[in-house]
């Protein structure tokens, strides 16, 4: 068994009276690609955001690369440099070019010198297929291009884990594949990935495991084949019939 990259143990979280995460237990191995799916409001975003401490847990713990995020005095900024995150709405910095977006964190957080940061940023842009867009501001990039820059920006910190929260949900259909292609090649290189997505094609081709959530609980988990061919739970069946007919 490979080493564990992320381990959720007994994770609970409330927003006011709303119990959004109920006793989550889940382990993600190093190099594993896990797709999380489930109906809207089931707690997928909240769960993935506990991994880098954007949401604090109120019960249980998440151990990320050996660090407990619930421990008092945990150095979250340091941990976050090893965990990249990609958002549904890209969240590129609009006042910076694509290149500057990628260079910012290495320079300001890791104190990488500018020429080195620029070299790294250009290599990453090349890797996501946007070499010629270095000088563009986000406003002058398509959604698909923005999301690829956002992936490059996260990769610039050389993370061990990448988190994706519905990275293609805000995109026009014709741009979805260019983002999924980048994610696929990342997975092939052995990156540990936790992806909230409803892209079933991606899940089938790339994921090692699918986790299905509903109402704050992990209802079932299994290989993509198992889950998509024959979901064990009724809620899983219901969910699949909805997304497949639509």
């Amino acid at each position: 068994m490979a080493e564990t990259a992320i381990r959720f143990s007994g994770v609970n979280k409330w927003f006011g009276k709303l119990h959004v995460l109920r006793e989550i237990n889940l382990a993600i191995g190093a190099g594993e690609v896990v797709v999380v799916c489930g109906p809207s409001g089931s707690g997928k975003s909240t769960l993935i955001r506990t991994v880098n401490g954007l949401e604090r847990v109120q019960g249980g713990d998440v151990v990320v690369l050996g660090e407990s995020i619930a421990r008092r005095g945990v150095n979250l900024p340091a941990l976050r440099t090893r965990v990249g995150m990609v958002f549904q709405s890209f969240n590129l910095f609009p006042h910076m070019t694509a290149l500057e977006n990628i260079m910012l964190a290495p320079m300001k957080v890791k104190r990488v010198a500018r020429p080195e940061a620029e070299k790294l940023a250009r290599a990453l842009l090349e890797r996501v297929g946007l070499r010629e867009k270095a000088a563009n501001y986000p406003a002058n990039l398509s959604g698909g291009q923005q999301q690829r820059v956002a992936i490059a920006r996260a990769l610039a910190m050389q993370p061990r884990i990448m988190l994706f929260d519905e990275p293609t949900s805000a995109l026009d259909p014709e741009m979805i594949n260019e983002v999924l292609d980048v994610m696929t090649s990342l997975a092939r290189e052995g990156m540990t990935m936790m992806c909230v997505t409803h892209e079933m094609g991606f899940a089938r081709r790339v994921a090692h495991r699918v986790v299905f959530m509903d109402e704050g609980q992990v209802v079932e988990e299994g290989t993509p084949d198992e889950f998509f061919r024959a979901p064990k739970s009724d809620r899983g069946k219901q969910f699949l019939s909805k997304i497949l007919t639509h």
């Binding site: 880098n52 954007l54 900024p77 340091a78 941990l79 976050r80 440099t81 965990v83 990249g84 995150m85 958002f87 709405s89 969240n91 590129l92 910095f93 609009p94 006042h95 910012l104 964190a105 300001k108 957080v109 956002a150 920006r153 996260a154 910190m157």
Partner: protein
């Protein structure tokens, strides 16, 4: 109408009144420029304090803003002119009084502009920077404030223009700014129409160039 009174006293009005070079302590620009810079810097601190999580920072900052927005500027000038020297048992020169009053008073307004500007930056921006491992301070400095400043330019310029014109209130404690300089000349020459028309034009030229500068700045950062 005889504008020779303006021509004859041009040097006094402009050098002494507008700029502050001359026998008296004064100068509209000498007061307005540092007041704008210091008031804005204090305003950034006040605005950020208003947004702090910790109540012991947020509550005093909120009270500060509410208080100084609720009292007239003239009163603040009088307090510092009459009361502070008594409390401290030490005289404060006119320039110190005027500058202190303006900085303290205007920081309340600038603080509100900064607060609104910071709040206008999308929540996802902070999350993205945080997720990259940036601390709250770095996130503020490199991600939030640059965007907030851009959104703030129109209201900041309006407030700076208001402050610039309000410096004429410093004349009530004897600070020889443009208004007071015109008054001094007028006491001697009794040419109020020409003199006050002239300084109105000077005030207008100053504020109008601030507007033009702002418009260029907005266009460049758009």
């Amino acid at each position: 109408m005889d504008f020779s009174v303006v021509a004859d006293n041009f040097k006094f009005l402009i050098l002494q009144g507008l700029i502050g070079i001359g026998p008296f302590i004064g100068g509209t620009l000498r007061l307005a420029i540092p007041a704008i810079i210091l008031g804005f810097l204090l305003g950034i601190a006040v605005g950020l304090a208003r947004l702090a999580q910790a109540a012991w920072i947020r509550v005093p900052a909120t009270m500060y803003v509410e208080f100084f927005r609720g009292v007239p500027l003239v009163m603040v000038i009088f307090w510092i002119w009459f009361i502070i020297p008594q409390l401290l048992r030490l005289p404060i020169p006119e320039y110190g009084v005027a500058l202190t009053a303006f900085v303290i008073f205007e920081a309340a307004y600038f603080g509100e502009i900064v607060r609104a500007g910071v709040q206008s930056v999308a929540r996802g921006q902070v999350e993205a920077a945080t997720a990259l491992g940036m601390t709250a301070t770095k996130t503020m400095a490199y991600v939030v404030l640059p965007q907030a400043l851009k959104n703030m330019v129109p209201s900041l310029v309006t407030q700076m223009i208001v402050l610039f014109k309000d410096t004429s209130l410093a004349s009530i404690i004897g600070y020889v700014d443009l208004t007071k300089a015109a008054q001094i000349v007028n006491n001697r020459e009794i040419r109020p129409f020409e003199l006050y028309l002239f300084i109105a034009v000077v005030y207008f030229l100053c504020t109008y160039s601030m507007s033009l500068l702002a418009r260029r700045l907005e266009r460049r950062t758009a």
